[in-house]
Symmetry: C2
Subunit: 294 residues, 2 copies
């Protein structure tokens, strides 16, 4: 058996198209143009690439895109003042502060200053708490993408055994909540877990989000399992460009899994598309409109 490869690129493109349709609809019917403000501090090259991509995709979806680029040495007070202004700005429905921030800034304080209704990264404790409590919430984009990819394979996740490997605030922990909302039975494993292969072997759905290259091996998997690989690890290649690999040994897994996301071309493709989803949802919620399903 060879696993079906889940095409993140195509699924993300479809999702962006559905968002664009909804944006056109709320513009037409409610004169509402969802707006996303992205704040970038300093000149981290990877962050600059991400921000550019967010900008392009936001505009392509018909939304307003606001970029705020601040110098590396911006004071915390000035950054907080900008966030306060964006919180009040009626044209801005989503605020994203690109992480990581320079060490001189206190990330938690910055994130907590964002109006939870505009927190499209889903990082404010209020959103994390609402998500953990099963309430309507803006959830982080990467786990949201993981769910959408899984649902491209399984219409319903109800009663399926899922394992989430990794308990980060950005991915593992919110993913557990989203899987519970889908009525999956969820196991959360991590660096202190014993006998990870055995824990994996009983899972219908495997989410690898540890950030260790190819830690999940093919023979860990239950035959037919759906494997969602969140890891993006850069492996140096002597004399060449670094190679990108996931947290799953892809070639091994291909022969065992039922469906699997590639790296690159899997989860990574979904993150910005889900950011657009969150911005659209935030705009509708703030305007008192029904939140579209997309």
């Amino acid at each position: 058996m060879t696993a079906r490869i889940i095409d993140g690129k195509a699924i993300a493109a479809e999702l962006r198209a559905r968002v664009a349709d909804e944006v056109a609809r709320v513009k037409r019917d409610h004169a509402l143009t969802p707006g996303l403000a992205v704040v970038l501090v300093g000149h981290d090259p990877a962050s600059e690439v991400y921000v550019r991509s967010k900008h392009t995709q936001t505009q392509a979806a018909g939304m307003a895109s606001f970029e705020h680029k601040l110098p590396e040495d911006v004071s915390q007070a000035d950054l907080l003042a900008l966030i306060a202004r964006l919180n009040r700005d009626p044209l801005v429905h989503g605020i994203l502060v690109q992480l990581p921030l320079p060490k001189s800034l206190h990330t938690e304080t910055i994130i907590n200053a964002i109006d939870p209704a505009k927190d499209v990264d889903g990082l404010h404790p209020n959103n994390a708490g609402r998500l953990a409590g099963g309430l309507a919430a803006l959830s982080p984009c990467t786990p949201l993408g993981c769910i959408i990819l899984t649902k491209s394979v399984h219409a319903s996740l109800e009663g399926m055994n899922a394992i989430v490997i990794g308990r980060s605030n950005l991915v593992g922990r919110p993913l557990v909540q989203l899987l519970l909302n889908e009525n999956a039975t969820v196991t959360i494993a991590h660096s202190r877990s014993r006998d990870l292969p055995k824990l994996c072997a009983r899972a219908d759905l495997v989410y690898a989000a540890v950030g260790k290259p190819e830690i999940v091996r093919g023979d860990w998997l239950k035959p037919g399992a759906t494997v969602i690989d969140v890891g993006i690890n850069r492996i140096p290649v002597p004399g060449g460009k670094p190679k990108l690999v996931g947290d799953v040994a892809f070639q091994e897994a291909l022969g065992v899994a039922g469906a699997i996301t590639p790296v690159p071309g899997g989860v990574g493709q979904m993150t910005v598309a889900c950011l657009l989803v969150n911005t659209l949802r935030a705009a509708c919620a703030i305007a008192g409109l029904p939140v579209p399903a997309v």
Copy 2:
């Protein structure tokens, strides 16, 4: 083998004594008297019993206890005004609104109005979110009690396989977070889970929090497992007083488990003691003092 019975009553009494010692210390060293305000709306007989017990135990621990009893038909505005006053009151470090509230009041709005720093029930989304994010937080009392009871058997839970059956906001969901903080591997199961006996059979730690009488059977358990029974179910007895049983078939489990909490006399005993712990912690945090471990 007969399981060791975990004596909730004795463990709660020890915990209350440790809290009382710490209260005496912060009074002496910092002139700080932790204060707990309990708000009761209406005349639910069970709620009145709980509130009385909280009052007595708060005073016995040397803390200040403030009771606010409001009529069944109190307006939401008046209740919110009281909460705003308690939020500002420097003598009050913990605020607990006894649930359930009458249907005329919107529970979520009321809970969200409590200052998260004084939310000793751990129900505010901000606390749930901080807990879900692995940050310092006031966590709900019953799951906190479950952890303390487990640690009376196992000094460390690291790497142990735990199953939490039930995903309520009050117990199951926060318990998952507390178990993760203890580095356990956690599975969360619920009414939609398939093959619950099999899921249970591999767990070193079983937490039953579904509210269904004796749903967890003895032959579901891994021999030697530690079983924490959160359920309190009232079973009618023809011609007699209703009998209290847990979510675990206690007599069956006795022959398989390594350790088990009885019902009554187990988890139920811990809840008010943990409320005192939270009030002490909140008082110290608000005063800028180190938060005692107790």
